[in-house]
């Protein structure tokens, strides 16, 4: 049976009916056409589907859409405003913190939460915060550099 839900995604309010078994990731991707939230494993390990629910990271592949009822969600599409990249996005661009781009939205959401809570993380704190996001391309060296760059850019803005 479809269930009614109301969510705000990237600042836009939606009222929809969804099957109870539909994941939040499928809801965002299939119902709202917000395809930045990628599915790498569909069992909550790789982190590619990471979004913010009420400002905190969550794995959209193991969250049901009905669980998100009444929340405000941000996806990677909702980071940049008017084409102006956030410091985190700019950091990843400047330091080549990405290759195929598939894991990148998940990393951006995770790093954004990290820097919101801890604007000047140490190397160890960065590694700790990113420990559950898998990237198969970069080997992580440039992702760490990208986060340090984002810290610098945020401080400068």
């Amino acid at each position: 049976m479809p269930e009614p839900i109301q969510v705000t995604v990237n600042g836009v309010a939606y009222a929809r009916e969804v099957p109870a078994r539909m994941t939040l990731a499928d809801f965002l991707r299939e119902e709202l056409d917000l395809t930045a939230t990628h599915l790498g494993c569909e069992h909550g390990v790789c982190g590619a589907c990471t979004v913010h629910i009420d400002g905190h990271t969550a794995r959209a592949c193991i969250t049901l859409a009905v669980q998100a009822d009444g929340t405000a969600i941000t996806t990677a599409e909702g980071l940049a405003r008017n084409g102006q990249l956030t410091a985190v996005q700019q950091g990843f661009w400047n330091k080549h913190g990405m290759q195929c781009g598939f894991c990148t939205p998940g990393f951006l959401m995770t790093v954004t939460e990290l820097l919101d809570e801890n604007p000047e993380p140490s190397d160890e704190e960065i590694r700790d915060a990113l420990g559950a996001n898998i990237c198969r391309c970069t080997g992580y060296t440039k992702i760490i550099e990208a986060v340090h760059e984002a810290v610098r850019l945020r401080a400068a803005r």
């Binding site: 395809t35 930045a36 390990v45 990843f92 661009w93 080549h96 598939f102």
Partner: protein, 776 residues
């Protein structure tokens, strides 16, 4: 015509990538993101057992009103050929992998039926209505057991489980062994792991009945090759088929294969008259996308008292899984051709067998057979060094080919690629620089201090030569738009490597324009008639050479046109900052927009000149360009737990001329970490019945940021003579050197405890057992 262009500005520069702003804002478009009007979704029923006779009944699913289409083997067109193996050699057994299993399944994951429905979830629900009866047969998962008398034979038409056999025989190996002062014999085993791109496979097929035209979007590394596969399998003329690789979320060789779903989705779309999409889930990826690496080497090395190697014999057994898939022979071909690596070793013999077992078919993954070959050679270097009490670096120096010995004909050959002739480089210098980067002398002192405190530090090195930039060719088109903007096309097809940036750099330099003045298009067979694709570290050197060639042709045409308009000598024209002008007089010339307008159809042109500033060119590969590198790993081993912590990792590599060092660094670093994961964490495990034991991300461990050190990279740039810009490949090397370097480091850390490491992976459990056994 003179060079006609100033000093290149963009080639060699670490330019930020053009593709990133799009990808950073959620603008990537991967297959799973694509929608079409009327789109349906497919799910695939796969074998739950490794070897069985089967009978499939789909009556219940056909009767279900939610079902739009069902395909079983019985529903396939008459005379459908098996999936092709394209790297066949004279002794290769005939390919026989069906699109859908008919009577027999040979691995867990083999496709049996396809169901199409209005959503993926419903299609998956409907799979449960299929009745599958099976009578299990004995399974064999070990390749040596598969060669033994009485083993179950997978393919009755072959009469054997050996799918291919090849040999190399260089010099007089027997005589060298007879005269050898020392002979070292060793068995070395490399386990099964694979590329595991974060984006799984996916296909969207749209067979338009009104136009009788098929469009296929696939997460593939080589859309042009895929077009040949699709047209061949379906018996369609090329003009009725268009293949598009949209954004591809990593490939690593896994997507350099032809898969049954790429045909099944076309048949499904034709059957329902609507577009159909299939997105592989992660379990399916584990049990149906190609696996890699698994080999056993029995190696013997003949050595003089001073450590100089005079001969090497190897016998390789590759566990190919159930079928000879697209590039099934390449891993044993490359491994067998490349074992001697950067060393002189004048006498070499190798026999390589490709053996089928009841596992997922095995094929190429980042480096194909190179990581195995390097593991064998570099492990043996350390074995010999330890036994003869020679410093491992010194032993390598005594055996290296010297720069003045290049080009050097190894005497071996690689299937689909050609003769192994090392073109250029300085291997000793490469190792010297890597040792300097890591601080070799200081490390040995630190190691001794650590050992006195009971800590186990180790350093491992690996030096290798790697086949890159293979043929047959790559294509490029360069076009000047009426606005003066450059639109260029490549037949190469990226999945994270940054083609849109690197090829823009190459084209821009011919006109002295900026990177934003060039748009790079790719991965669509309707854009380029001919193309090859991205694998074997070939796109920058081969595709870049084609791009450079096409850009030169267009620039020279623009110079001739400008000279004609100015009544000047074309030899006096120069391209600079987007203008073609008389050398030394920038005012006497034209912008690219003005020249594009002058070349428009309908405009008068000099005799013999055609309209449009556009050219399509091909770069035909004259021979393999061999890249090389020295890797050095420093690890600490906890001798109580077997846990290996990589502390440092240094690479000095030579890929010839670099287009974009930032991108190359990323390729090297990413490759190293894939090799690190493959060596210390990742293993595709099976039980004796052929059941996969860890087909999920919880149990198949891959490196996360906490598992890896900073990867330090240094460059040498020895141009290859094999293309005008001197470029060699850089994509795979990281994964080629790291398994050997890491295992050498682990053994160096615990050798004093009596531990020897002759197989991978080196997981904490396995290393703990080795340490415990050595202590007993």
């Amino acid at each position: 015509m003179s060079a006609g262009v100033g000093v290149p500005k963009l080639v060699g520069a670490s330019v930020r990538r053009k593709e990133d702003p799009r990808l950073l804002q959620g603008g990537g478009r991967y297959v799973a993101d694509l929608k079409r009007v009327g789109l349906l979704h497919a799910a695939v029923l796969r074998s739950p057992v490794a070897h069985a006779s089967i009978r499939v009944s789909v009556d219940a699913v056909r009767a279900d009103p939610r079902t739009r289409l069902v395909l079983t083997a019985a529903d396939l067109p008459e005379g459908m050929p098996p999936l092709p193996c394209i790297d066949v050699m004279p002794a290769t057994k005939p390919a026989n992998e069906p699109l859908l299993a008919r009577d027999v399944v040979r691995f867990v994951g083999e496709p049996i039926a396809v169901v199409v429905a209005e959503s993926r979830a419903v299609a998956e629900d409907l799979l449960e209505l299929i009745e599958l009866d099976f009578e299990e047969r004995s399974a064999v998962v070990d390749p040596e057991a598969a060669m033994a008398d009485g083993a179950p034979v997978l393919h009755e038409d072959w009469g054997t489980n050996v799918g291919n056999e090849l040999t190399h025989d260089v010099g007089d190996v027997d005589a060298a062994f007879a005269a050898a002062a020392h002979v070292f014999k060793q068995r070395l085993k490399i386990h099964r792991y694979h590329g595991m791109p974060l984006e799984t496979r996916g296909v969207l097929a749209d067979w338009d009945p009104a136009r009788d035209h098929l469009t296929v979007w696939s997460s593939t590394q080589f859309p042009h090759a895929l077009k040949q596969f699709v047209t061949g399998m379906l018996g369609l003329p090329p003009h009725q088929v268009r293949i598009i690789a949209p954004d591809v979320g990593g490939g690593f060789g896994v997507k350099c294969e032809f898969y049954p779903e790429e045909i099944l989705l076309c048949l499904a779309s034709r059957g329902v008259g609507r577009p159909v999409k299939w997105i592989e889930d992660r379990y399916e990826h584990f049990v149906s996308a190609s696996h890699a690496r698994e080999q056993i080497h029995d190696v013997e090395v003949a050595v003089e008292p001073n450590g100089v190697i005079t001969a090497l014999r190897d016998r390789i057994v590759t566990n190919n899984g159930a079928y000879l898939h697209t590039l099934a022979i390449t891993p044993s071909s490359i491994a067998s051709a490349m074992v001697p690596g950067p060393y002189r070793i004048p006498n070499y013999a190798c026999k390589a067998l490709s053996v089928v077992t009841n596992k997922v078919p095995l094929a190429v993954y980042r480096g194909a057979g190179h990581p195995q070959a390097v593991f064998v050679m570099e492990r043996m270097m350390d074995v010999i060094a330890r036994e003869l009490r020679i410093d491992p670096a010194e032993l390598r120096y005594r055996n290296f080919l010297q720069p003045d010995e290049l080009p050097f004909d190894r005497g071996t050959e690689i299937v689909l690629a050609g003769k192994v002739v090392y073109d250029s480089g300085d291997y000793p210098e490469c190792l010297r620089r890597a040792l300097e980067m890591v601080g070799y002398e200081a490390f040995r002192e630190e190691q001794a201090r650590a050992r006195a405190e009971g800590r186990c530090l180790g350093l491992g090195m690996a030096v290798y030569v790697e086949e890159t930039a293979i043929g047959p060719y790559e294509s490029a088109t360069v076009r000047v738009e009426p606005s003066g903007h450059l639109v260029v096309y490549t037949g190469a097809s990226p999945h994270g490597q940054g083609h849109e940036t690197a090829f823009a750099q190459v084209a821009a330099d011919q006109f002295g324009v900026g990177i934003d003045d060039v748009t790079v298009l790719h991965s669509d067979t309707d854009l380029m008639q001919y193309g090859v694709g991205t694998y074997a570290s070939r796109s920058a050197p081969v595709g870049g050479s084609a791009m450079n060639k096409a850009a030169v042709v267009v620039r020279e045409k623009a110079q001739r046109l400008a000279a004609h308009m100015l009544e000047a000598d074309p030899e006096d024209m120069v391209a600079s900052e987007g203008r073609i002008h008389v050398v030394g007089d920038p005012a006497r010339g034209f912008s690219l927009a003005e020249l594009a307008a002058a070349a428009m159809p309908g405009s008068p042109l000099p005799d013999g000149m055609t309209h449009e500033l556009q050219a399509t060119e091909y770069f035909d590969v004259p021979g393999i360009a061999f890249a090389y590198a020295a890797h050095i790993a420093v690890v600490e081993v906890d001798s109580e737990t077997g846990v290996v912590t990589p502390e440092r990792y240094c690479v000095v590599h030579d890929s010839g001329t670099l287009i974009n060092p930032l991108i190359v660094d990323g390729q090297v670093q990413g490759g190293v970490v894939q090799g690190l994961g493959g060596t210390l964490m990742e293993e595709l495990m099976y039980d004796d019945d052929g059941q996969p034991l860890n087909p999920n991300f919880v149990d198949y461990l891959m490196p996360a940021v906490g598992n890896v050190p900073t990867i330090e990279v240094g460059h040498m740039e020895t141009p290859t003579p094999l293309n005008p810009m001197g470029m060699k490949g850089a994509g795979e090397g990281g994964a080629v050197g790291s398994p050997a370097a890491l295992v050498n480091a682990v053994e160096d850390a615990v050798a004093h405890l009596g531990v020897r490491v002759m197989s991978s992976p080196v997981t904490p459990n396995g290393l703990y057992d080795l340490i415990a056994a050595a202590r007993r």
